[in-house]
């Protein structure tokens, strides 16, 4: 919403306002001021009438224009393509005039200058040359009918200089969608009285006929018939004001409705009465199958929730409060109009505007709530403006289907004190509320408040508390700290942060990627995610962001690819984030889990020589350390995830066999589909699936020395080291406390096909004595025999 400082000043009894000060007042009142822009900072420019024009003898594109400033005729050189006919008027910046044509809109004083050999005393001005807009398409032309007389000082006659404030009006303040409402706030802020125009009695004429069939949708409808109109352009002053406020001038009639709306916040609509069968208006909801061609030329299908304006033949002529119909539009030839000023229900207007995706200045205001009790004022004000174009009011009628009375509220002054922390007596609170036009009666510590209908947002005591606080000033509230009460911590959250710290320590940087990903990426992952197993966004920004991720892997792979493309050869990234799996119904919250995932590609750190490429076991080491830090033990068991290399992957299983994640080499085809040409290692683990970790107790440090023995043997390749370790553990060899693989050697020139050569290291120890050689020898022999017998291991 843009407001003109000049207009605000006029509404405040001709006060001269300072833009910065008004911005301060409005900001403190809760109306955000997004910008303040000076407009039309010029002087020494006069209205001049074109008395003659001829081409410049030496330049095709230049015109020599004779202009009359009320006393003399002067020849000015003009480069614009649109020099008007004799009798029209233009704006002439005479030598000595100051115009904002310098850098950054600085004022420049004009001097006579030679234009292709002919002296030009000043110039005829285009919009941009006066700081009135961006357009340099041509000079400003004033119709002969415009009342501006030659010689008039343009700045004062057109209402400049002005300052335009761009306001961010919150949806609860429809009253500030018009200059009157904004002026009321400024007055309260300045501590001066404000008298808004009073609505008074409506027009009780018998014509036109108004039939409101839906009082819920339309509580009041005011119609004025005006005749004798001459439709034409608005006076330049009005056109410039509208343009300054971001509204395109159209014709005097339409411009009047717009100006009235900008003043009062009440939308109006004018119908060409000669396109109607008579001065009859019916307000009703749409019937199935009805259509209307709206002003923008689009034929709209109507539905029964749409509130309509219909003519005496019950034909649709407008979508109430949203947009008028093409057929009854005011045109250049219109002579008689029916002017509508009405109150429509916010919900009805919003439903239609939303459904049609059609947001107009009118619907924007009706959706938020327009004061039902200024209708007659606005109608008369508009009629008064139209009188300048020959219009006479021949009939007017104000039909109130459902009177809307002011709301009565009670405010306990103590309640304000409690909620705000301010010490404010009832008297002071009453003053604040009165300053914005509320009726207040004091009754001890209680305020009986009458809320005028222009403030539909004030319906409860708490709303009045806010008004008092706002008007007193948020900055006046003393600072306090609420008393402290402790509460238990959130454990799951700590687990996620623990995982972050561990992966940091292990060399991984944290990435955050979007929770919505491309369905194609998820498909590339070939995760167990057919279409119906993905949470989809109904209105995504783009197709690549339309599926909620079922895995963090695609985001990390894309991120890694991007890093590689930017020359980062050693990528170590992790992410902690949510994944989403739909449940039975799409209206049920999906299963949301917190996962941690990482990607690693590149080389191990080498020192003064290139490092070796990282492999599965580097990642396995990271996962093991992460598990230790999270105080869990994962067993790696066989898995066959389609997104991982078929021979280099494993599932992470808890003691009870529950699989909580996977690790391995990313399947090269999946990598390629996601834009990564490099071998990459990934793991993903569900933190949500982890049970609470047990608090570990310390183990005794051994007091007696251990003895180590190695054994090297050939064994079938399929026997995994986990299986061998399990078998050894099951043997219950006395004194054996640890068995660890040291070598896995598979060179086919030295090892028989189907076999691998392994070196294991075994540790023997007793808790109560130092072992003798004989004891160790005995135990180790027992182990070797058992290895051969149970696993077919052949000692080398």
């Amino acid at each position: 919403m843009r407001v003109s400082l000049k207009w605000l000043g006029d509404l405040l009894g001709g006060a001269r306002l300072d833009g910065a000060r008004v911005a301060e007042i409005l900001t403190a009142a809760g109306i955000e001021v997004e910008s303040v822009t000076k407009r039309g900072a010029f002087s020494g420019v006069v209205v001049a009438e074109v008395r003659g024009k001829k081409p410049h003898p030496d330049a095709q594109k230049l015109t020599l224009v004779d202009v009359f400033d009320g006393s003399t005729v002067t020849q000015v050189v003009c480069g614009a393509p649109n020099v008007p006919e004799v009798g029209w008027k233009v704006l002439w910046a005479r030598p000595g005039a100051k115009v904002p044509m310098g850098e950054g809109g600085a004022l420049v004083e004009l001097a006579p200058k030679l234009v292709r050999g002919i002296e030009s005393p000043g110039m005829l001005c285009a919009e941009d040359e006066l700081g009135l807009g961006e357009s340099h398409a041509g000079i400003l032309c004033i119709a002969p009918s415009d009342a501006l007389a030659p010689g008039t000082d343009a700045a004062s006659a057109l209402g400049f200089p002005d300052e335009i404030l761009e306001l961010g009006v919150t949806p609860n303040r429809p009253d500030c969608l018009g200059h009157v409402g904004v002026a009321r706030e400024v007055a309260a802020g300045k501590g001066v009285a404000f008298h808004a125009p009073v609505d008074g009695q409506g027009d009780a004429g018998t014509a036109p006929t108004i039939r409101i069939e839906d009082p819920e949708g339309c509580s009041r409808y005011h119609a004025t018939v005006l005749e004798g109109l001459t439709v034409g352009p608005s006076p330049l002053a009005d056109q410039l004001r509208l343009a300054a406020l971001g509204v395109r001038p159209i014709s005097n009639v339409v411009d009047v409705t717009n100006l009235a709306m900008l003043e009062h916040g009440q939308p109006l609509h004018a119908f060409d009465l000669d396109t109607l069968p008579g001065a009859t208006i019916i307000v009703r909801r749409a019937r199935a199958g009805e259509t209307l061609e709206t002003l923008d030329g689009v034929v709209r299908d109507l539905v029964p929730t749409d509130l309509l304006i219909c003519d005496g033949n019950d034909r649709v002529i407008a979508l109430a409060g949203v947009m008028g119909g093409k057929a009854t539009e005011v045109t250049a030839s219109t002579k008689r109009v029916l002017l509508e000023v009405a109150s429509f229900a916010p919900s009805a207007i919003r439903a239609t505007a939303k459904r049609l995706g059609l947001s107009s200045e009118a619907s924007h205001r009706f959706e938020r709530g327009v004061d039902p009790n200024t209708v007659a004022v606005v109608a008369r004000s508009a009629a008064h403006r139209l009188a300048a174009f020959g219009a006479r009011v021949t009939a007017a009628r104000d039909e109130v289907a459902r009177p809307i009375a002011p709301v009565q509220l009670e405010l306990r002054a103590q309640r304000t004190r409690l909620i705000t922390g301010l010490v404010l007596d009832a008297q002071r609170q009453a003053q604040h509320l009165s300053s914005i036009g509320l009726g207040v009666k004091l009754d001890g510590d209680t305020l009986h408040v009458t809320v005028p209908t222009f403030r539909p947002d004030l319906t409860r005591e708490i709303d009045l508390v806010e008004e008092v606080l706002r008007l007193e000033g948020y900055d006046r509230v003393p600072l306090t700290i609420p008393g402290l009460r402790a509460a238990p911590p959130e454990l799951k959250h700590r687990l996620a942060d623990r995982a972050r710290d561990l992966l940091n320590a292990l060399g991984f940087d944290e990435a955050i990627t979007y929770a919505f990903v491309s369905p194609r990426d998820l498909a590339a992952l070939a995760l167990s995610a057919p279409r119906d197993r993905i949470v989809r966004i109904a209105n995504p920004l783009r197709e690549e962001q339309s599926a909620m991720r079922t895995s963090l892997v695609t985001g990390l792979v894309r991120a890694a690819a991007r890093n590689v493309a930017h020359g980062v050869s050693d990528v170590r990234l992790f992410e902690v984030g949510h994944t989403f799996v739909p449940l039975a119904s799409a209206n049920e919250l999906p299963l949301e889990q917190r996962h941690v995932a990482a990607i690693w590609l590149g080389t191990r750190d080498g020192w003064l020589k290139p490092g070796e490429p990282v492999d599965y076991f580097d990642l396995r080491g990271v996962v093991d350390e992460l598990a230790r830090g999270l105080q869990h033990t994962f067993e790696v068991v066989a898995s066959s995830q389609p997104w991982l290399h078929p021979g280099v992957q494993g599932a992470l299983a808890l003691d009870d066999g529950t699989v909580v994640g996977w690790l391995g080499e990313l399947h090269p085809r999946v990598a390629a589909a996601l834009g990564l040409e490099t071998r990459a290692l990934v793991f993903e683990l569900s933190l949500s699936a982890l049970p609470s970790a047990k608090v570990p107790l310390v183990r005794d440090v051994p007091r007696f020395p251990a003895v180590s023995r190695d054994a090297s043997f050939l064994i079938e390749t399929e026997r995994s080291s986990a299986e061998i370790a399990r078998a050894i553990s099951a043997l219950s060899i006395p004194l054996l406390v640890e068995a660890a693989p040291r070598e896995d050697y598979r060179d086919p020139t030295h090892v028989p096909v189907g076999h691998k050569s392994m070196l294991w290291s075994f540790t023997y120890r007793a808790t109560d004595r130092t072992l003798t050689d004989a004891e160790v020898k005995n135990a180790h022999e027992q182990l070797v025999i058992a290895l051969r017998a149970q696993l077919g291991a052949r000692l080398r």
Binding site: I462, D509, Y514, P540, A586, N587
Partner: protein, 360 residues
């Protein structure tokens, strides 16, 4: 007597010769291994001195054996001392040689790469820590939310213009059209979940990802907020101001200030926009703050009685405040990042620059 003297003398001269040879060879030995070898050759079980002693003992008649034994042992003791001394000497020489070692200390070290937290995580944790000191615990909620938790219970009914304040992503229903689920547009639904599950007093902060259908140079369709909620008897707007000023000063410095501007949110009343002193010019006015000295970081206010009604709290007995602001915005201010989009590029060259604040 003569026999005794003769065998003693014989042994003594033999051992004198051996010890002389031992000394010569020992001083020629330059490393520990040789020294031990030399010692073994003379003083070891098969060493020449022991052999000479053994032979002399064998040859000597009974009464002389004791003297012969003692004589040999005295010599053995001597060479033990010489051996130990030579070992110390060797160790000292080795120590000297080691001290003569020189390396290029300016070469880079072996890497022990440490990863880095995302700036959003860093700021979130700092905030959680500050609020924890004020008794706020961390609460969380789902990112896909019901319309009820995200809007309805927060006093944003369907068909209300306030819905336009936040462009919402809807989850597709079974028919592909927008259903009853949304990607949460703010962390405020966590307020609702917390209050529905707990009786007052409540004091939480709720950090997390939120989503808005907004994608331009200054907006990211996913970003993070942290929400605060404090409900108890007698909680006032003054408490809100006190808590906000405390956190801003702890996070950004004691010279920071806050400004609350009246505003509108459906779920708070009174409502305020929260401005903090411009971090770059400290309130003097610069390009970042458009010369106002202030930058907006979030919203705050007193919990609307309508919200209490939805969660079954008695708004006559309890009052509360809530606040929320963008973590990206805080991170951008903290680290001097210009473009929010950079936080989502996962570029390691950027990510590896961020360090947590070292508290003074």
């Amino acid at each position: 007597m003569t026999g005794n003297a003769a065998s003693s003398e014989q042994l003594r001269s033999a051992l004198d010769a051996l010890v002389a040879e031992f000394r010569t060879r020992m001083s020629a030995a330059s490393d520990e291994q040789v020294v031990r070898k030399v010692y073994a050759d003379f003083g070891g079980p098969q060493g020449s001195i022991r052999v000479a002693q053994k032979n002399a003992l064998k040859a000597a008649p009974g009464p002389e054996k004791r003297a012969i034994g003692e004589l040999g042992n005295a010599y053995l003791k001597d060479i033990d001392a010489l051996f130990e001394e030579r070992l110390r000497g060797i160790a000292a020489e080795a120590g000297e040689r080691d001290l003569a070692r020189r390396i290029d200390v300016t070469l880079p070290g072996r890497q022990h790469r440490r990863g880095h937290l995302h700036p959003v995580t860093i700021v979130r944790r700092e905030l959680e820590e500050i609020f924890a000191q004020l008794g706020f615990v961390v609460a969380e909620g789902p990112e896909v939310e019901t319309d009820f938790h995200n809007f309805e219970a927060l006093a944003v009914p369907k068909h209300h213009p306030a819905r336009d304040m936040q462009d919402t992503f809807y989850v597709a229903g079974d028919d592909g059209k927008p259903g009853d689920l949304v990607l949460r547009t703010h962390t405020s639904p966590v307020q609702i979940r917390t209050m529905l599950a707990n009786k007052p007093p409540v004091r939480i902060v709720a950090p997390g990802a939120v989503f808005r259908k907004d994608d331009d140079p200054t907006h990211s369709p996913m970003f993070h907020q942290i929400e605060g909620l404090c409900v108890d008897e007698g909680v006032s707007f003054g408490d809100l101001k006190g808590v906000l000023l405390h956190f801003v000063r702890r996070l950004l410095g004691d010279d920071m200030g806050i400004r609350l501007r009246p505003s509108f949110f459906p779920f708070t009343e009174p409502s305020a926009e929260l401005d903090i002193s411009c971090v770059f010019c400290r309130g003097k006015g610069c390009r970042t703050c458009k010369h106002t000295g202030w930058v907006e970081i979030g919203g705050a206010g007193m919990v609307d009685p309508e919200v209490f009604r939805h969660v079954g709290y008695d708004s006559e007995k309890y009052t509360g405040f809530a606040f929320g602001f963008g973590l990206e915005r805080m991170a951008m201010l903290r680290f001097g990042i210009d473009d929010i989009k950079e936080l989502y590029l996962s570029d390691q060259r950027l990510l590896s620059q961020f360090e947590s604040k070292v508290w003074p």
